[in-house]
Symmetry: C2
Subunit: 104 residues, 2 copies
């Protein structure tokens, strides 16, 4: 396996201020998928407002470009002022992976 990178985005949302969140979230997903170096994204949201979204990218440069993308910058700003109580971002190098799938 050649190395690739993960962005772990752990969020706590403002439960009562979600206007516009869903549309923006879907728009950012489409934009990210069209960015150079995008591999995939996995998102899970719990019932209590906590969520985790991990996106995978070919290179650190791809991650930087996505972070600086114009519409994404605007979304980040709105996320801070409206939708998120807090979040943490970790940029990681994936060093090893393995998987399991139950036989049908």
């Amino acid at each position: 396996m050649s190395h690739y990178y993960a962005v772990i985005f752990s969020t706590v949302r403002e439960i009562e201020k979600q206007e516009g969140y869903q549309e923006m979230s879907e728009k950012m997903l489409r934009l990210a998928q069209a960015q150079p170096g995008f591999i995939e994204i996995e998102s899970v949201r719990g019932p209590d407002g906590r969520g985790m979204s991990v996106s995978y990218w070919r290179t650190l440069e791809d991650i930087r470009s996505w972070k600086q993308q114009n519409e994404h910058l605007m979304a980040q700003q709105m996320g801070k002022s409206r939708w998120y109580r807090s979040y943490k971002v970790r940029i990681c190098k994936v060093e090893r992976e393995y998987e399991f799938s139950a036989e049908l």
Copy 2:
């Protein structure tokens, strides 16, 4: 920041076979927290059986020790034979992090 490591555990559970899962999950959480090198864990589970759990560790050796811990080995075996339809594990080096918290 000194480097540390993340284990991204993405799961798809068998919705209809969850007997014993909750107890085992809580037991493994307590065991992991008592392991050398454990930093923290974040888990989110969606309503559709998909889940994501990211644990953070000081070193790769700490992660190896946890993977080989006796009761954890047994839990992994039961996870494959009973509870999980599929899962993927990624071992990552956290290279950078930043966070945001809304002012009250």
